[in-house]
Symmetry: none
Subunit: 206 residues, 4 copies
DNA sequence: CATGAATGAGTATTCATTCAT
DNA sequence: CATGAATGAATACTCATTCAT
């Protein structure tokens, strides 16, 4: 291994480290004050890098934010797609979707807090232009349509159903994350029963 | 009418006009780019007033925003409280709540767009510290608890139910506002049936 | 007395009242934050007059300040001239000057504080362009020259002597005003003895 | 010398040059219009730097002012302490103090003008809260007390004596600086004789 | 590729002053 | 003569971005 190779390796490692340092710092700031209020300076101040270095890795804070939420989005959306496509009954479809969604954030609370501080960035959120969120909803809608074609989900307005499920999911997640007494299973049971049988469905609190 | 009175009138009229001009301009900007990104300059640039004049009427952009959303919040919340308290059956409770909510924004689309661009300011939104939104949810929760005491709403976790109803309402509203083919009645019917009987409830599309 | 006369009288009274209100307010502000930091708004806010009214009485805050310090200056300077001109011995000259100076501010502490917050405005101050101060020093110099011609003050550099007396007077005044245990007589005795016999003059503290 | 070193040198030099440019410009402005009336813009306008650059070096105009007066204060105060502590007779004490004080400003007229335009910043000034000035007076008082303990200065009120000496010194300095015919030695001789023997002391003008 | 100083446009806010009423 | 709203210049300060080293 000649010197050239060695120093290139070191560079590679350094590149990754610097990128990570920026991402880590950015996640902190975004969580604390939100995307809108965050400045590039805020991010770089939390690293020991120079301000100019930021631009070797990202063009703007938005690009960092995207990198941060992409990872969340990609993993969660993939999981959701899988459980939805594997569902063979309506109850499976609903229950597994909720469980996967709640579990992801229960297991990755830092992602929850990042999303929470930046409500327009959730993978499910209806109310956003954010790429991730819209994509998540579009996929859910596709999956619902597919399930409908397979008679797993009964005929209904898919747009409205997608909206209702997505909106409820986010809000229930909030309630769960703020409330220690509600775990992912309880939240899933509640949401599933609600959407399977309606509010007046039997024995909500057994 | 003596001259004094006339003079005062002119001034009064002017004051009101200027205040309105600022509010109108602010609503536009808030709708287009959101509260966070809006600057006082953005607002004043859309009027033919001088920069300093802004501060004769408001202390900050937030104060303008509050003036704008207060009217929305107060009226809508009052209407919601009323219909919820007058409900005698669960179906009334759910259906009238949704109908009031959807109707308000259908009748005041500019308020919808303002809220849409600033998701943390809706009267219902779970995901926010904004006074209006949190207050709206708290009231809803109180009303649900009262209805539960009267056996109108069955026993369940009120926090989760509040979240689910609120979250679904906002998202269904979005779908409705973006989709000309869905009117307030259709949205209300869908939401009501969903929460009364669950997804698989009979005859979704008659 | 016809109505015309009555209303003119009222106007006169009002004029005087408004002027006084402005002067009173201005004195407060100048004392608290100094001439430099004071704004016209600060002054007018302490009255119940409208901002525009200020300009019916004064052109600027400096003009108010001048009006305020003129009264101080004119009275104090006149007293000083008198005692200096009436002095028949060097000791009288020195002692009566100091006593008059210290007494004025002891009797008019609000004038002291006004001057203190605006050090360039004292009637004696060497270190200022302020009209009053320079005038006070010029007069003192004239009086010293006159006294010198009458052999009351011995031959010396009048400029330097004026400076020394003036500078010491202000500083001793400060010490006196900050220190309850030193009254005008004690300050006068100290200053007189110092300038009559020097530091080592006999029994400074009898 | 490798390239790295050269680069750093250039940067260093530039930093020092810019800092100096700001200090030089600030001194000019402070001298002309005083600290109170000076704005950061006034300072930066006199350099060919951009407005933002100011804040790479100083936080505020006050910080610049401090940097400017600190050097004056520290050097002058140290010299004064030394000559006072080394004095073995009252005459030495007085004479050397005056001489040191007058000499400093005679040798550094730009510092005199800076202080003159900002009377609250002199090392001796009684009339100020400024750190330098108050510190200067406190030290003088300490030294007087020490000299009194050693029987160099006779018993007297040290507060008053400090005030008198300090006040006279500043005013005599003014007279000297405005008057070409009075040099530091003449001013020192006058002040010393005045404080040693009083106004009527023999042979004032030999 | 890292650095960090320089840039200058941009923002909130205050203020003296004018003038229609 | 009193009022107080309108004006717009002025100020302090921050920030994203560039670029010489």
């Amino acid at each position: 291994m000649d010197q050239q190779t060695v120093s290139q390796s070191r560079r590679e490692i350094n590149r990754v480290n610097n990128r990570d340092a920026i991402l880590r710092a950015a996640r902190e700031v975004f969580t604390e004050i939100g995307l809108g209020a965050t400045t590039v300076r805020d991010i770089i101040r939390r690293t020991d890098l120079a301000s100019g270095t930021f631009y070797n890795y990202f063009q703007s804070k938005d690009e960092v934010f995207e990198a941060l939420t992409n990872s969340v989005g990609v993993v969660l959306r993939a999981s959701l797609r899988q459980v939805r496509n594997e569902a063979t009954t309506l109850e499976d479809f609903v229950q597994n979707s909720f469980h996967t969604y709640f579990s992801y954030y229960a297991d990755n609370p830092q992602d929850y807090h990042l999303m929470r501080a930046n409500p327009n960035a959730d993978t499910l959120s209806t109310r956003l232009s954010a790429v991730q969120g819209q994509a998540g909803l579009n996929e859910m809608r596709e999956d619902i349509e597919a399930a409908m074609a397979n008679n797993i989900v009964p005929e209904t307005d898919t747009g409205l159903l997608t909206a209702a499920l997505g909106g409820a999911a986010i809000s229930i997640l909030d309630e769960m994350m703020e409330n220690d007494s509600i775990d992912r299973d309880e939240a899933t049971r509640f949401a599933t029963q609600l959407f399977m049988t309606g509010i007046a469905g039997k024995q909500r609190k057994p």
